[in-house]
Symmetry: C2
Subunit: 315 residues, 2 copies
């Protein structure tokens, strides 16, 4: 345990986090009790708060050759992408870090400084957290980020479960190949689609029915909208994607666009009568499935229909 273990003195956990947080240089006015107390106190714009937590783990979410700065960026950005998917406004972040012994105090400082930097850049300052050093010499880096956000000023929050039969499915950008061969690539450097989400919500209002960020693969994440909306409405739904319309990143096949994941583009279901806004691509429709067809997502490829419900990371 910490008391008897000299390794624990290699990194003074609280001091490092305190320094990283202090380096914000100023305390945003809405942070009423600053980092350093038992909890932070935040003044929100309303009495509703959005919250999520997402982690990155060495060997699982990034390879050993990934610069610490990009590890920190990914951990923050994937949380900001969740905020975008709800059409929320990011407010603040907290970081919980388990440091490998090999990182040392210098590496730990660099990592937390990068978390602070990207959190500030994405508009959700780092206001607290917890750091520990692994007791196990082989213990890998784990960085978990909690994000708080506010609903849009009009109080509307966009969920996964609001899609309706007849809705058009649209995506905010090209998909596939997020992980490069060397472990680097788009999954480390993507820009969360916060501005695009706000513009979409401004433009479509109540015609924006459902939204999700594409983290596990277009097939699987489309299925999540279908399943949540079916469950919420009690009306069976099925997505019909048009393979030819799905935008693929250069050099990547449709199969990659459907299943690679970690694109962090947005997928939205919008009313049948709404216009597809500039910058977005229509890729399919939501239909009433034929009797006893339990497949959530079909994709039309060269006149054949394939089941895409399970295309993605987790299956």
């Amino acid at each position: 345990m910490t008391r008897s273990d000299p390794a624990s003195n290699r990194v003074n956990e609280r001091d490092i986090l305190a320094l990283a947080v202090a380096a914000n240089g100023f305390l945003p006015k809405n942070i009423l009790i600053p980092p350093g107390d038992d909890m932070a106190l935040i003044q929100l714009t309303s009495s509703q708060v959005l919250v999520a937590v997402d982690q990155v783990v060495a060997g699982r979410h990034f390879t050993a050759n990934t610069p610490l700065d990009l590890v920190a960026r990914k951990a923050v950005a994937r949380n900001v992408s969740d905020v975008a998917a709800m059409a929320g406004i990011a407010v603040a972040t907290l970081a919980s870090v388990t440091l490998p012994q090999s990182l040392g105090a210098q590496g730990a400082s660099e990592l937390l400084e990068s978390v602070r930097k990207y959190a500030a850049e994405f508009g959700c300052p780092l206001i607290g957290g917890d750091t520990s050093v692994h007791h196990d010499p082989a213990g890998p880096l784990t960085l978990s980020v909690t994000i708080l956000a506010s609903p849009r000023a009009n109080g509307i929050v966009v969920t996964r479960h609001g899609a309706k039969i007849g809705d058009r499915l649209i995506v905010s950008g090209p998909l596939g190949g997020s992980f490069a061969e060397d472990g680097l690539g788009h999954h480390l450097t993507f820009t969360p689609r916060v501005a695009e989400a706000q513009k979409l919500a401004d433009k479509l209002g109540q015609n924006l029915h459902a939204m999700i960020d594409i983290s596990d693969g277009l097939g699987l994440d489309t299925a999540r909208i279908i399943e949540a909306s079916t469950k919420h409405s009690g009306v069976a739904m099925q997505a019909r994607l048009s393979g030819a319309d799905i935008p693929c990143n250069r050099g990547h096949l449709l199969r990659h666009a459907l299943s690679d994941g970690e694109d962090h583009e947005l997928l939205a279901a919008i009313d049948a009568l709404a216009e597809v806004p500039a910058g977005w691509t229509a890729i399919g429709l939501i239909l009433q499935p034929q009797a006893e067809d339990a497949r959530s997502v079909l994709v039309e490829i060269a006149d054949a229909l394939e089941d895409a419900s399970n295309l993605g990371w987790l299956h």
Copy 2:
């Protein structure tokens, strides 16, 4: 990475968390968007929210022989103890878990079910989270809990930084020996002092100046109140503890009470004129230090004064 690694299929991360969360059996009315979307949406009682994150790591915060149920309990309870220290009302929790491969799907389910159970028991239902399985076969269990809380109905939040010269220091219970020889003990089974904190705040009102939960050791945590209050007020302060008055757990010496940590009792600074409430023990005073005496905490033991500012886990 996950896609190409069969080990990742051993635990279907989202499903396990979803099941654990669903086992709450009901959705509290203030959870407007349930777990399963990109973020949870919570209806608060006001537009201010308290937030903190705290983790437990295998080998660091618990030993290998600790039952999973108590690992989960500790992770939740230490966060609830932070809420108590601010005199807050716990609202909800999220869990971020990195699972060892050896735990398997069954162990992972048990762990998350225990997190759910204790979170519900402490009044802050589990409403979201993230789970991953370590890629590294030796990767140890890491469980990070985020807690959200509301300020008391009167809006008063008790910080570390409100102590004044003349204040009396009081503790909510006996200290020392939280870690038993076998790694088990009080640090796994303590009851966070939420009710005691609320009663104290009800009774003392503005005479309750500062509060902290004793997590790192009485010496170090007293120093935190002194340092935060000195910084906030610009007035130099020093705590003078009376060794004879510090309540020690049975079989443990004063030295343990001062430095063991993980007691999770509360330490409060109350106005000199306020009565010490039943259940609390007065253990010292806050004084103006002599010129050039930078020590934050002195403890009087057998007519001698010792520096206790650094007695605790981290130094």
